[in-house]
Symmetry: C2
Subunit: 381 residues, 2 copies
């Protein structure tokens, strides 16, 4: 936490320490424009394919292509449709064939310019073409900067569930341009902020308190924004370094996600109703209230977590999702299908208070069901 | 090589040492019938999907399903069409969705019952469903037993080339049933034998000499067959353990493969004209003759390698491929597209004699072209 108390510089570097797969995340304004120079310096001689979506292409692709060209990097752009549907087998095949057609070799790079969808798809492509090419991420959403930047998870969706198909493939470099976040809507920014809050709630109570003091400055931009992103990346990197392939402690990063995924599935992934970060915000609030109900966490901590999420404009209750209609049985099916299920038992991330989350295995499904029924009855009342 | 001089037992075990990804290859007769017990003992409590092709299913699927059921393993079969075309995006998606639909979890297994096509596809599926499930291989061709069993390479073909898409994913267990090889045609067995010979030619001159003495017994069955397979697996395991992700010494395993792949491509992968092992046999003979021409290898060693391949019923010259018609320019394109190209230069495996292969980087494309032109002119004469 020391870094949070010191004056912040314009650009920060977070090192993700994974042995021979270690890499740097650069965080600060102007990194799209500086991308060519940063990539050329670290990965000399590479050629590249830039994968992006139509929305991001309009805003940032020209600047990136200019930067790459001026650094002498031969790069081909591929513009995919925006939206979650792009995480499909069809787009995977299309992108793989484009990379092969560009005659890129193992030492060359796939560069992802976009949010989580583009990052997840492109990373998967980089992980499987020639059994693994270099991968550079330029995340353009707050969610992607603080979540997908670290951990090496890549993948696409199956008709039967999200992110059920993919590989672990670490990037060679991540460039998190804090300036591009000004092009996000407030709702998108808030959704990413839910994941920032999550790192405080997992095991960094000082960071949570710092966020309570600096939330407005983070939303407004400035050095606090870069600092919040850097601290989030450090938090995730610390967990991932201890557990690269998600067998143990890494499960803590799923705080709020089991409930959140079930809610997203019940909304049929309709982003007009609920985006991922909002599902996580409600999921974290539910995890705290469920922990209070189980006698694990005191009520004041749960309220404090909720208040901070609400102040950021995030939902904390199921009845805040427009459209309504969440049968408990459907949510329980969603919870069971979530891939964090371990051999039939329910695994949840519960908490003993702010910054004191833990992995609870063998959670009784009946207790979860009764809790959700009460939450929904409360909403209906 | 000590093992070759000792009495062989009915069943051998080769340990592939890759740290936490280490696994055993069991080699011997009767392993399909014993599969349930062996899998249940090593991977207790798993459920499984058995992926196979129509040809192999007719011969061995019932025996395997019976064995799994009697060991209490809940398994679902998936029968795909036989042939190289099954290594496609379409079959990948179909198999992935079948595994997810069976609600298999990360700790469960995909079991590949078949040759290289089924093994490569199934291993890729196991590598990407839920970002990595367990994988058990029951290779039913000699080629798959001595090649795909070791190394963790999985993948599918692209319209633009073979094996251009895939992952490294190590199996949890390999069961190489030497009895099922009796169901192969002599041509299929010989094609697999080319890869056995390859291990002798790379760096095991004593093994090559042992093969010269025992070739007939290996083709007939018996303990020499299991011993030849075990020694091949040990040879490959030694190379892979030193270089799991194919950056250096592992390239030696490509002896004969750069020429071989170019010939396969020029035949449009028509197995009536040329199967992989035959391409490798011709490729190894070409690599030896090219090495003689470059003054690296003496002529007697090249002749000795050729004679042994010919005695096994394998081709050693391009003009032995039915149909003819191999323009040098087309072969050179195939060589350039081969994924063992490193940043534009040609990398070949050349040799200083029997068991003395080495990785030659920066091979002059003009020298290769002139050599092939002479080989083809000789054939036409």
């Amino acid at each position: 936490m020391t870094a949070l108390l010191e004056p912040t510089t314009a650009r920060q570097t977070v090192r993700v320490d994974l042995g021979e797969r270690s890499y740097d995340i650069l965080i600060g304004p102007g990194l799209v424009a500086a991308a060519g120079a940063e990539i050329a310096r670290r990965l000399p001689g590479i050629r590249a394919m830039v994968v992006t979506d139509a929305t991001v292409a309009d805003l940032h692709l020209a600047a990136l292509m200019t930067s790459l060209a001026s650094a002498g990097i031969d790069a081909t752009p591929l513009v995919l449709p925006a939206g979650e549907k792009t995480k499909s087998f069809e787009r995977l095949e299309e992108t793989v064939e484009a990379v092969i057609a560009a005659r890129l070799e193992r030492g060359d790079a796939v560069i992802a310019l976009g949010g989580g969808v583009i990052g997840d798809l492109s990373g998967f492509v980089a992980g499987i073409v020639r059994r693994g090419m270099r991968f550079v991420q330029i995340p353009t959403s707050l969610l992607a900067q603080v979540d997908s930047s670290v951990g090496g998870k890549t993948g696409i969706n199956s008709p039967q569930g999200k992110n059920l198909v993919g590989v672990f493939h670490q990037p060679a470099l991540v460039l998190a341009d804090t300036g591009v976040l000004d092009t996000l809507s407030r709702r998108e920014f808030a959704a990413g902020y839910a994941e920032v809050v999550k790192y405080g709630l997992i095991d960094r109570p000082d960071f949570f308190a710092w966020l309570e003091r600096h939330r407005e400055a983070i939303f407004a931009g400035g050095p606090e924004r870069a600092e919040a992103i850097a601290e989030s990346c450090r938090a995730k990197a610390a967990v991932v370094a201890a557990d690269e392939r998600e067998d143990g402690a890494r499960a803590l990063l799923n705080l709020g996600h089991t409930f959140g995924h079930a809610l997203e599935a019940a909304c049929h992934y309709d982003s007009d109703r609920l985006v991922h970060g909002e599902g996580v915000a409600i999921g974290m609030a539910l995890a705290h209230r469920f922990s209070v109900r189980l006698g694990l966490c005191n009520g004041q901590d749960a309220v404090r977590a909720e208040r901070h999420l609400e102040a950021a404009g995030l939902p904390t209750r199921i009845d805040q999702i427009p459209g309504g209609g969440f049968p408990v049985a459907e949510l329980m099916r969603g919870i069971g299908q979530d891939k964090k299920v371990s051999r039939g038992r329910l695994t949840f991330i519960l908490t003993r208070g702010i910054g004191a989350a833990f992995v609870a295995r063998d959670v009784d499904p009946a207790a979860v069901e009764a809790f959700l029924a009460d939450e929904l009855a409360h909403a209906a009342a």
